[in-house]
Symmetry: C2
Subunit: 670 residues, 2 copies
Amino acid sequence: MAVLTTRSGGAFDRTPFEALVKRRLFYTPSFEIYRTASGFVGDTKGLFDYGPPGCALQANIVDTWRKHFVLEENMLEVDCTVLTPEEVFKTSGHVDKFSDWMCKDSKNGDYLRADHLIENVLEARLKGDKAARGVSTEEDKEKDNDPANAKKKKRAVKDVKVVKLDDDVAREYEEILARIDNYDGTELGQLIKKHDIRNPDGNNEVLPPVPFNLMFKTSIGPSSGSIGYLRPETAQGQFVNFKKLLEFNQGTMPFASASIGKSYRNEISPRTGLLRVREFLMAEVEHFVDPEGGKKHVRFDEVENMEVLLLDRHTQLAGNTETKVMTIGDAVKSKVIDNETLGYFVGRIHMFLEKIGVDMKKLRFRQHMANEMAHYAADCWDAELLTSYGWIECVGCADRSAYDLSVHSKRTGEALVVREAREHPLKIEEWQVDIDKKKLGPKFRKGAKAVEEAIEAVTQQQRETFHEILKKDGVITIDVPGLPEGKADLDKSLIDIVRRTRVENTRDYTPNVIEPSFGIGRILYCLLEHTYWHRPGDVARGVLSIPPLVAPTKVLLVPLSRSPEFKPYVKKLSSRLRTLGISHNVDDSSASIGKRYSRNDELGTPFGITVDFDTVKDETITLRERDTTKQVRASVDDVLGAVVNLVNGTEIWADVVKRLPEFVGQSEDE
Amino acid sequence: MAVLTTRSGGAFDRTPFEALVKRRLFYTPSFEIYRTASGFVGDTKGLFDYGPPGCALQANIVDTWRKHFVLEENMLEVDCTVLTPEEVFKTSGHVDKFSDWMCKDSKNGDYLRADHLIENVLEARLKGDKAARGVSTEEDKEKDNDPANAKKKKRAVKDVKVVKLDDDVAREYEEILARIDNYDGTELGQLIKKHDIRNPDGNNEVLPPVPFNLMFKTSIGPSSGSIGYLRPETAQGQFVNFKKLLEFNQGTMPFASASIGKSYRNEISPRTGLLRVREFLMAEVEHFVDPEGGKKHVRFDEVENMEVLLLDRHTQLAGNTETKVMTIGDAVKSKVIDNETLGYFVGRIHMFLEKIGVDMKKLRFRQHMANEMAHYAADCWDAELLTSYGWIECVGCADRSAYDLSVHSKRTGEALVVREAREHPLKIEEWQVDIDKKKLGPKFRKGAKAVEEAIEAVTQQQRETFHEILKKDGVITIDVPGLPEGKADLDKSLIDIVRRTRVENTRDYTPNVIEPSFGIGRILYCLLEHTYWHRPGDVARGVLSIPPLVAPTKVLLVPLSRSPEFKPYVKKLSSRLRTLGISHNVDDSSASIGKRYSRNDELGTPFGITVDFDTVKDETITLRERDTTKQVRASVDDVLGAVVNLVNGTEIWADVVKRLPEFVGQSEDE
């Protein structure tokens, strides 16, 4: 892997980054005061709370998502319950199949996720091998130059056993890692045996992998017999409401529903912060499309020429991870991406991630391998973002085919189909059976219904044969399992079989579903990593270059000092910003102006307005931009006008600097 | 109870109202296709999904809430997990006390909530009594005049046993009902026995009430030993993060945190639609305030003169439900409402409900009685809204005192306090113990620590006594449970006890919490009831007069017909509305214009823009207002300008009608 750099070109270092995120309360482990309490029994891993800036950032990402997907395409947004009766997930297949493979430590009873165990151990061995060969990556070299890393490096080397591997073994490890998501439980068990993989924590052997269902189970209502689960995805709520949504949409196809809400997965052993959590916010679209005609999309031309970085399943199965740049148009044409609608949403996802400030050099789309795909999917592409933990799946874009609607329809007996008027009525030549029910009833009495059903069940081919026999012999014999004698003789007075033309004016079909599914928390984490850097030479002065569109707070409003003459100006500006709908923080604490700016650089606040002595003289104020720390000075109206433009995205800072006078004044040093 | 009227003055009828809500998919029972599926086992009661208009209405209510509370007062919004380890709810008291009283039907095994059972049975008996006496309420009379109600009335009378009660018995029933929320399990059991209350469904006797805990239980992580619950309120997540929030707020008091999220209560037998559900959206504020100085609020003057309708606890305990109008200032002054901060939030709640369109004649604040109050509360006022189900608690406003922070602090050992610099340092005269540790150590060796702890634990009074003894005898004997001999002799060379003045420059205190807590789903339901009416004489033409601020969609955009010449105008207008950030629906279906207006009246869309033949001629469009059905006609710019003002609330329809020319054109009849 190439070195992970920040936007300033330096190496990304997770330690000061995590310290910043914690210090500014973007998020925090839930129930932290309990984790260290004496006698506390409980599992709080994989649970995180968002503090004020994290909460605002999350709300802004969700708001952008809603505008970009729901409003842009008039999707039908729904809000369905998390609590779901067992039967629904039995039908969808989640009760049987929504599991991860889990190994138990044979001695200390630890539970480990099998694929992660193998990954961790093999990656550690490969690292040890590199160390033994004296090969260091670009990343290692970069860090070597940073004295702050010396201690950490020493510790890291201690964790890794420096052992040289055979060339063949090293290659085998690399190939296993490229394919790691494609192994089933048996195969994972074999790999563990073959490569003597043990729990790194204590070096004990582990028991063979067993499936562990990831859904949280509970009981609904006062009787213990009603089992329920917390949904692991928002999709099923949308599927079971399909009929009502289609009706709400006045029967028109294609259409999409969308949902933003919490989902739950009982992860076996969550360790990587916000990236693997047990409770998380999802935003999902279910786009319903006619499976006939190649799943075209009417707006496909808007994404056709967009270039994306793809890692297809064939490449991965061959044991490597090389990506290629393709236009979405070419990818669909060459069937790398299965169809236009899937391709359209890959493009829309790409645009969304760019809009909120993801580093586009750190985005790829990876196709699922056959065994990796969820039990319902026909094709699936993940948008993966590169972080210090490697490539992280943040958005899934799956073609779920007609799977979900079909299984729910079958289980409930409710027709989850679209009835469409045929432009050209369909004419079907077929053998039809005419029964004289007035005679059939008296003849078979109680058995009449069984006879009738048996006749109706006869295939077209058999009907033709019966037609011939009836013409020749005047009577046919038909199997009727419902009668004591098991069959019935029917003569011409009772039955006739004739060839006729039937005209079908409508067509019923089960729509296929294309599902873009977003993990908001993962996206938020990656965005924080991607926008983090520090002022050159000063790791203590971190910055989050979050775009104004999603920044938690848009403006920091500060008086130069606590001098009382500034107060009325700050109050008036605050009220004007509120009227303009621009979120802002007032910081009138006694800290130096530099410290207050720094604090807000860490909060990702893009703009700063300062009230100083000149404000009192001539009613001008200064406007500071976070990334450049450059300032301009102008009248209140001009500055607020610029802020509105900057926040709405109708102007960029480079333009503002050109048209408003630069200000070089207050020092940012403390 | 007085007759429940709609805004047009007619009687509110729940049947066409519910049909409208269902038809327009505001909300719908969850998993409905499963409820009727053959062989389905599961409990889906109390679970509802929001369809597109309900989802948008909910989002707009939440958005208004966030602006009205969070942004207005710079509250610290957090998003905490629903999953909570058992220990947290053991500490908060929910594991022991968060229960309802439940009776089991002795024969058919039904579970019934005890207080609701008594209410239902006694109310039915009182109805039967009225019928027997030939007394009909205003409401009954009103309904009698409506032929649509004839059939329903007949059915209702059939359900009620027409039996005249003794005057005393009737009065007793009324008193029980006024106090119903104040009985504990034993008392409920006695009432059931005394009044021979049985399950109305089958008339079986019921077993004595037992407590049923309302929290959903689950297991977190792969080991079954880690019990967790779904939170029944968002509050605890805010309390356990108190220390971090205070720090984020740079130590400044008072401050508030806020949270918007789902909570869960495993209701015993939910029956009343959206009003009693098992999964619901809450919005809660935890306002932390210094308990000293009477819990004043700096903005109290803003609500002081506001008049509110109050039903205090004394009135209820006296067995009646008369309300009185008071200003909040008077209520606080006379201690009807305990303190300024509580009063301030009663006022803010009042303003919020008015803003979103609640009928203010149908709002009262009811105080909790002692037994009714949650285990943590010191005083509590509910904002109740009047509906066809009676008065419904929609917002609670509780003074939780220092309860929560104290119990969490005690359990975890984490100091959840505010440290405040004292303006005037506090001087405390006290007995201090000086120990010569250099001598104590060698003398008691392993026991030295126990001796030291025993000395430190001595009270001020004892210290004075010891001081005297030491002066007199030169040695004291102190109990030390940690020593084998259980005590220790300490002479003057080891210890001295002297009177000194200690100066405290800081003060530590546990803040009290004032908690306004909103059930968004209940508010949404009441708002729908309050804004529902139908065009005079035509129950089929329902209207929801939801204010523009929270209406699901602000504008309906329709071409007069499907004539292709209208298309480019509709497209352009749609794009301009999107740029203006005004949510709108285009309906270019073939239905008549009257039908399309009607559909949107039912969706609560306040404004309609029509493109017609004059638009093609002179680029003017019409603007229709939902409640009056009046229209104006003007240029595109003038109409869009008016729409922006109307939606932002800077102009009302009456003003628009005055300045733009009226239009009398397209008929609304079909």
